[in-house]
Symmetry: C2
């Protein structure tokens, strides 16, 4: 029974993780992948691996929602910093609004328990 619940949480994260990352990116102003993994780990529902985040960031870049900037590091490999584009800001607002709407429907149905 727990088996099905964990499978469900995976499905819920689809798309929801995208808004989470975009919001984190806007609040940080600028951040690189490896850092996002660690900072989001503290947030509820923000527990993701690198195999999840890097493809996500790549998609966002291809869609023009974020822009990247390579910065060499003294200790370790170069970091790829991400920040929102104007289109990304606009899209994020639309996403947040959409979530508000959908969740309003959820809360309404949830309240009416028998």
């Amino acid at each position: 029974m727990d088996d099905h619940l964990t499978a469900w949480t995976v499905q819920v994260r689809k798309g929801l993780l995208e808004v989470l990352v975009l919001n984190a990116l806007r609040s940080a102003g600028e951040a690189y992948g490896y850092d996002l993994v660690r900072s989001l780990a503290g947030h509820p529902g923000g527990d993701l691996g690198e195999g999840t985040l890097y493809p996500l960031l790549s998609r966002l870049r291809l869609q023009g929602l974020v822009a990247t900037r390579l910065v060499e590091s003294d200790a370790g490999p170069a970091r790829k910093y991400y920040r929102l584009t104007p289109a990304g800001e606009h899209t994020l607002d639309a996403m947040n609004d959409h979530l508000d709407t959908v969740l309003a429907g959820w809360k309404r149905l949830r309240a009416r328990r028998s």
Copy 2:
């Protein structure tokens, strides 16, 4: 840009639709598929087709979260009524709690805008 947003909303619905239906089922006590499509259409984010709902209900039945009851109708084909099982009630509570947790993380990140 709207193209990407509509694709995103599809991904958000994955899994989220399942909680919506389960909550609707609990608040109604008992309901059949065709009726759920119409009643959920009024709720924000509850716009779904039959090709979405029927496979969803089948999955829920296979997982033991809902039970079915066939009732013949005077006008039209027989209706398959669905209602939550005890396991379904328990799982639904866990889902609602999980959503509460995840959405708390979303709201926290969303509040901190630059």
